[in-house]
Every structure is written in C-alpha cells, then in structure tokens.
C-alpha cells in the first residue's frame, strides 16, 4: 500500500498494487457514468427534436395548400336585359355567368336550371362583387363581353388541390362528379388557374374560406402587442429597478416580491376575467379592442418582465456600482448611467420573451370578447379586432373544410411572427452588447 502511495505510477516491485487496481476500477466507473450521461443528454435532445419535427411537419403539411388558390377568368357578356345600369349591384351576375358558362361548355340544361345552379356553386360570391364593381366604374361595359375573374368556391378549390377526391362516394362530398368534370375541362382550357393565395395576406376574416385572410388578425395582434409593450416594459423595468436598487429590505417588500413571483404563475384565463371585470365592465373600455387586449396581456407580461429585469440587474457586478458611487454619482445616476445599461441585454431578452408569450396567449382574449367574428382590417386601438391566436381558434372550429388548411397556415404565420420577434431580440441584444 505504502509503496503505491510513494510511487505515482502505481508500479511497485511486486507489480500493480491492489490500491492502483481499485483506483483504476473506480476510474472506469467514472468514465462509464460520464458516457452514460452524455447519451442521456443526446437522447433528450433527439426526443425533443423528433417532437418538433412532427409538430412542424404536420402543420406545414396541412397548411402548405392554403398558400395557393385557384381562380377562374371568364369572358362575360354583360347582358343589358339583366343589368340595371343605375343599380348594377342588384343584378344576379353569378346566375348570368353560370348560365353563359353552361352554354359555353355545350351542356344541355334542364327546365329547373339545375346545371347552371351547379355551375354557380363553383364560383365564389366574389364574382358578383367583381362584375358589379366593373359596371359601377364603367357603365359603358353593359352590352359588351369582358373578362371577369374571381376565386373558385372553397370546395372547387379543394377538389383541384386534390383534397377532395373521386374515391369518396359522391353523396358524401360537397362536389359532384359532374362538377369535377367541368372543373377539369375549365382547367384544361386555361380558364381556371392556380396562383399564390394573396387573399390570405391582404384580407380580413370572412365567412367564406376562399375570401378569408389573416391581415386583420395580424394587425390586431400587432396593435395589441404595441399596447402591451408600451405598458409592460416601462412599468416592469421601473418596478424591478425600484425593488432591486431602491427599496428598503423589510417585510412589505418581501411580501411584494413573493407576490410578484406568484403572479407569474397565475393561469392566464384569470387575467382574462380580471380584464373583463376591470377594463370592460368597470372602466367601460371598448370590448374586444386592442387597447383592452393589450392591457390584459400587459398585466400578464408584467411579472415576467420584472423577474427577468431583476435577475439581470442582480447579475451586474457590484464593482460597477461601487465605482460609480465612489465617484460621487448619486444612486439614480449609478442605476441609470451604469447598472441598467449593463443589464439591458438581459432586460430586452426577458421583455421579448414576455411579448412572444403574450402574442400566443389565447385564453384571456376569449374572455374579453376577441372570440367574435371581425371582418376587415382594424385601424385603431379602440375598435374591435381579431387576434391571431383567437382567429386560429375560430377557424379550427369552423365547419367549412377549407378553413382547416387555413388554420394551419395561420399557425405558421403566428410562428413566423414569433421568429421575427425573437430574431429582433437577438439583434438588439447583440447591438447593445457590442457597445461595451
């Protein structure tokens, strides 16, 4: 034993000592544990990645078809017998176009006009607004043949995307064999073509899937986040600075601290109830407006901002505080001139994480009325809006099948929104860190 202790290589006159053997065995065990742990880590990462891929994969697979759509462009004879020049929007353009198209395809209609009705069902109601708008702008077009284009109806679009197939029994689908044949012919003739679904990004919500877009919800979410950021960040940072740098250490501040930590764990739906009771029922702020939504989300984001700011203030080395104080800087000069700038990257990361969290929050929005159908695009913070997460909720519950692919598309847009925010956070952080 003593030999081995005296000789670091463990080689004694009699060979490898028992002490060395024990040490080596133990060392093997230690390496084995390290290797095992590495593999646990890899397995955990792999597991997380698999779920991420499954999640993103399924959303992308479901949502990718929402990014293109089919439109029809037809030469339309603006029949003077059916259009009142003084009141073009009263004319039944869809019927007129459908009848003309039935004739053009050489189909013999029956007495009830059922073929024309079936044809009409292939076009979006947008057709009527397009044609009426053209006549309203140029009344001289009546009596002429002009090309009119409009989206296909949602079911026709789904068929051309392969979402509805002939394999399904005819009585179980919303589009008949006959209509399918017509669509194929129109597609072959070039009257129907696929294009980027710009309506998804330029329009507000609609009851008709082919006309529904995300712009209203994106603008609503952006306005709401603006309100949230303008309230939660200054208030949260201010509260954190006071708690960390100014407050006396006593029972009251200890209670405040504990409660801020507790607030971070309060379920978000409770904030929705609070918002409903306080902002809508008591203060009578406009229901479903970005103002109320932003206020509620700001309440929710506050604890996160405060906690993140406090921990980054704590992380600023005390030597900087001492340096500034010893130079005769006042407490406020020390905090705002030295400590807070150094804590800024952490403050911003925390704030943006809180904002990203607020962006995806749905439950409180449902309680303050953001579950309602809001067509169009909002312009002010006091008018009713939709928000991306609540729109996703509404669309997912819609009965039209075409909304399902759009739900997935809306989720992708929400994710993109978050990625943009996080990228902005990283960029800002880099910028601030580089200054030092």
């Amino acid at each position: 034993m003593t030999d081995a202790a005296q000789n670091p290589t463990g080689q004694t006159v009699t060979g490898v000592s028992s002490r060395t053997q024990r040490l080596q065995a133990r060392l093997r065990g230690r390496y084995a544990r390290e290797t095992r742990f590495k593999w646990y880590g890899r397995a955990a990462i792999g597991f997380a990645l698999i779920f991420l891929v499954i999640l993103l994969g399924s959303i992308i697979m479901q949502g990718r078809t929402a990014f293109y759509a089919h439109s029809v462009t037809l030469p339309v004879y603006m029949d003077p017998a059916r259009i009142d020049r003084g009141y073009p929007q009263g004319a039944n353009f869809e019927q007129m176009v459908a009848e003309q198209q039935v004739r053009r395809l050489g189909i013999q209609d029956d007495a009830q006009g059922s073929k024309a009705a079936a044809m009409k069902a292939l076009f979006s109601s947008e057709l009527k607004f397009q044609a009426a708008g053209m006549i309203a702008r140029q009344p001289g077009l009546v009596g002429q043949t002009v090309p009119v284009s409009a989206p296909l109806s949602d079911n026709a679009d789904l068929y051309l995307k392969g979402e509805i197939s002939q394999a399904t029994p005819e009585d179980q689908r919303r589009i008949s064999n006959e209509q399918m044949a017509w669509l194929d012919r129109m597609k072959a003739s070039g009257a129907v073509r696929a294009h980027f679904n710009s309506a998804l990004f330029t329009k507000g919500d609609s009851t008709q899937p082919e006309l529904a877009g995300l712009l209203g919800a994106v603008v609503g979410s952006a306005l709401m986040l603006l309100v949230t950021a303008l309230i939660a960040i200054p208030v949260g940072v201010g509260a954190a600075v006071w708690l960390e740098e100014y407050s006396p250490r006593n029972r009251l501040t200890a209670i405040i601290e504990v409660n801020i930590n507790n607030l971070a764990a309060v379920p978000s739906i409770v904030y929705g109830l609070l918002g409903l009771a306080l902002f809508i029922n008591f203060l009578h702020l406009p229901r479903a407006s970005p103002l109320v939504g932003g206020l509620v989300l700001a309440l929710m984001a506050l604890p996160t901002v405060i906690i993140a700011t406090r921990s980054s203030l704590k992380a600023v080395p005390p030597s900087i505080r001492e340096a500034a104080l010893a130079m005769g800087a006042s407490r406020t000069q020390t905090v705002f001139g030295h400590v807070l700038p150094l804590a800024m990257p952490g403050v911003m990361t925390g704030s943006i994480i809180a904002m990203a969290h607020a962006l995806g929050e749905t439950a409180p929005l449902l309680l303050i009325g953001m579950i309602s159908f809001v067509p169009g695009v909002p312009h002010a913070i006091d008018e009713p809006v939709g928000a991306l997460p609540s729109l996703i909720y509404i669309w997912e519950n819609a009965s039209e099948r075409a909304f399902h692919e759009r739900t997935a598309a809306a989720i992708l847009v929400l994710l993109a929104f978050m990625i943009v925010m996080n990228a902005a956070a990283i960029l800002l952080r880099r910028r601030f860190e580089r200054r030092w």
Binding site: I320, A323, L325, G328
Partner: protein, 290 residues
C-alpha cells in the same frame, strides 16, 4: 465642541499653527507613537464603531490621518481595516443594515453630519478598489465621468484638459494617448488600476482611499502603482489598505495596525516596523500570525 483640536476650515485662520496636530484633549489615540508630524491632520476619527446588523466589525477606533502623507492600514483578514477605510467616504451607507457610530472629522467638519451629502463627500474623497473596476466605456469617458457629473468642466476643451492632466498624473498618458476612445476594459490589469486612479483624481479630491489596490496585480504593475502612490503623496492625503507588509513599508509614512476590529497601534511606519510597542504588532509584522 468636543473635538476642537483639528485643522480649522479653510479661510478661518490656520496657517502654520495647523501644521502640527494639536494634542488630544479627549480620547487619546490608542498606541500612538510620539513622532514628528508629517502634515496637518486631514481626517480625525474618534471612537468609530461599525455594526453590520448585530455584528460589530469595528470597535472604538480613534485615528489621526495627516495630509500629504500615505497612511497604511495593515492587519490580518477580517480585522476591520477595509471597513474603517469605507467609513471615510461613507461607502458603508450603501450596505443595508450597516451602522456607523462615533465621529469622523475632515478638516474639522463631521462627515457623518446629516447635512453632509455623501455624494459631495465622495467628490472630495476618492476611492480605488481592490479589483480594477473601470466602467465598460472608453478610457476618455472613464476619466471624464467624475468631472462631468460634478460639472467641473464648462467646455469640451476644458474637459479634454482635465482628462489629459489626470491621465498624466496617473502615469498612463503615454500608454493610452493614441487610444483614448477604445474601451477601458481592454487595458491590462495594472493599466486599468492606473485608469481608475486617474478617474479618481480627475475630480481633484483631497483624499484618496485605496483598498488593496495591488492585490490583483503582478509585481511589475505593483511597482508602477507604488511609484505612482509616492508621487501622488505630494498633492493628496492617501490612505491605503494593504495585505503586504513590504508594501506598507515601501509606500507609507504612517501605519496603523488593526486586529479583530480594534486599532492596536499606530505611528510612523519606520517605528512600527522596527520598534513596535505592542506584542501583537510585532507578531504580525514578523509573520507569526495573519
């Protein structure tokens, strides 16, 4: 007035009469050697005790600190020398639960007076810390910070002059003149410490407190700082806390030995190191403990 023994405030007589510290009428300084004065008394501490919460860290310290002199505070770790140093610019105010009793007079005025703003006091009493702590800003901004917040410069040109003068006095000008606008944190440890000294002297303080300024530095950087301290002595009252007995012997003219929160002995450095009165001092300086 209990302590009428210190230098009268500026403009109220003084002259050669204050060159010599007056004899103490009350509370004689513990273990003081009778020796030739080095300058008028700048700071006089009487019965200073410091408490951190319930724990007493400093017990009734009375010490005279002469002007234009380097006074070294020595003693083993935890003996209260840094605590005492920090009472002189009221840095202990920033520690929650810290309480200072007794009286500390600077030029005859009580620095713990309610009317004295610690912010103004710290413009007169500069401090240099153990670890170099330049602000994460440029060299220029570091030195200009004090003059800026105290409004000492009226123009950019004046500020430039102050910065240059301070850097020259700190012996750093030659090394950084061509990179005033690069970050101060990019300098070496020794340079950073001289930058911090330049920052402190830019506001023209009267006293400079140094809390183990060389303990994080290599011997060459230490030698430079010590040389600098010796030069600064001509203008300022310097109090330095040090762990190194050799350093205390090299740079200081007066030494105070602290032990267990009490001031054991104070006197001329030469006396303390060659002929200490107290057994504990002898044991410490000969390396028997500490």
């Amino acid at each position: 007035m209990k302590f009428n023994i210190f230098r009268a405030p500026e403009g109220q007589g003084g002259g050669s009469a204050v060159r010599e510290p007056a004899p103490l009428t009350t509370a004689p300084v513990v273990g003081a050697h009778a020796s030739a004065p080095l300058g008028p008394i700048k700071i006089a501490a009487r019965d200073v005790s410091v408490f951190y919460g319930d724990k007493q860290a400093l017990f009734d310290v009375s010490l005279d600190i002469p002007d234009k002199t380097v006074t070294a505070l020595i003693g083993p770790s935890g003996c209260g020398k840094s605590t005492f140093l920090r009472t002189m610019n009221r840095m202990n105010d920033t520690i929650p639960g810290c309480r200072v009793t007794g009286r500390i007079e600077m030029d005859g005025g009580d620095i713990n007076d309610r009317k004295i703003d610690p912010v103004l006091l710290r413009a007169q009493v500069g401090m240099v810390f153990q670890k170099p702590n330049p602000f994460p800003k440029t060299i220029y901004e570091n030195v200009a910070y004090g003059p800026k917040i105290h409004g000492l410069a009226t123009s950019k040109g004046e500020l430039d002059d102050i910065v240059q003068k301070a850097l020259k006095r700190a012996g750093l000008w030659e090394e950084v003149a061509d990179r005033l606008h690069s970050p101060g944190t990019g300098l070496s440890g020794g340079q950073q410490q001289r930058l911090v000294i330049a920052r402190a002297i830019a506001v023209e303080p009267e006293v400079i407190l140094m809390d183990e300024p060389c303990s994080a530095l290599d011997p060459i950087a230490t030698a430079k700082i010590e040389e600098l301290i010796d030069e600064l002595r001509e203008r300022y009252c310097i109090v330095i806390v040090t762990h190194s007995m050799a350093q205390a012997a090299r740079v200081s003219q007066r030494t105070a030995f602290f032990h267990m929160g009490k001031l054991v002995e104070t006197g001329d450095t030469e006396e303390i190191f060659t002929n200490p009165r107290e057994r504990r001092t002898l044991d410490y300086i000969t390396g028997r403990f500490g």
